[in-house]
Amino acid sequence: MSVHIRQNGSWNNITFDITPFAVGGTWSDETSNRLYRDTSKSDIEQAKRIYTNNSGDIMLIRAVPGIDRIARNLGAGQVSGSCAIAYVDDLEVARFRDNGTNSSEKIRFELQFFVPNYSEYYVKVFKETHPPSDSTSWQGNDSNGDPFVETLEWYEFKFQ
């Protein structure tokens, strides 16, 4: 951005080292660093799954939790109709339902939402129910100790 002053009937450019303003940003792959909030976990473990935007800028989150029905040995009716909800500062900002049929073997929920600086954000996954409540959320692990809900992808775009 240039800065001009009016001098004797003409505009003079007085710009010195003024950084032009433009919207930019970078993606970061946080897939291995982010987990959905499993409400069956301890308070401490749940707190670890509440993330804070300390970047100094707003962020766009693209989170994709999912369930591999076959690998988790779940019945078709158990998974169909599930949904994922994103929260910022404990308020819902995005919801994605599995619209697949009972035949879906792998379901995935792509949530996208903005997070202001200093705000906290997390994702929960619910079974087919309304209104969503912790008692009807996806919790815990299968008989092999593997979590029902996996983080398939989690990318964060930091605006600059």
Binding site: I18, I58, S80
Partner: protein, 175 residues
């Protein structure tokens, strides 16, 4: 970053840090159920702020509670979809009837979301979450249609079927 000019032998501040934006920031405003101001489908709203906003609304149907569990009700819900439209606020009257007889947008109307429920007839809950940006001085509306392309707002059998589950708007700014 401050901006100064030299006058005589003195530097004078003509713009302080806040006057030269360098960061994109933003905050949420919520209009869901229970908020002091609630927003619903089939209603025209205007972005009268001085900021770009992003609308994220989750609207849908609690089938058994609002319609029932019969075959006709199941068929009505499955395949329903939402479309969102906007115009400059000066022509927001177009949003009252944004589609022509072929379900195409009429001239002057911009479609910004089109999301269908692909679930089968067993769907208990219809959740649709359109997300779209609204420039300053634009107006917008979210409409709902059933699987036969009928406008849900014209359904006299179930006039209250469509609910707002969540409605949030993210207001951008620079600082």
């Amino acid at each position: 970053m401050s901006v100064k000019i030299r006058e005589g032998n003195t530097w004078k501040l003509i713009a302080n840090d806040s006057a030269v934006p360098s960061n994109v920031v933003g905050s949420y405003v919520h209009y869901g159920p229970g908020e002091s101001t609630e927003r619903v489908y089939n209603t025209v709203y205007a972005n009268n702020t001085n900021r770009l906003i992003q609308v994220s609304a989750t609207i849908g149907i609690d089938r058994d509670s609002s319609l029932g569990s019969g075959t006709a009700q199941k068929t009505l819900v499955a395949g329903s979809y939402t479309r969102a439209f906007m115009t400059p606020s000066s022509t927001s009257n177009l949003l009252s009837n944004p589609l022509d007889s072929n379900l195409n947008t009429v001239s002057g109307v911009i479609e910004v979301a089109n999301i269908r429920d692909n679930g089968n007839a067993n769907t208990l809950y219809l959740f649709l979450n359109p997300q779209f940006f609204v420039p300053i001085n634009f107006s917008y509306i979210i409409k709902m249609y059933d699987s036969d392309d009928n406008d849900w707002s014209n359904n006299t059998t179930y006039p209250n079927a469509i609910e707002t589950f969540v409605w949030s708007e993210f207001r951008f700014a620079v600082q």
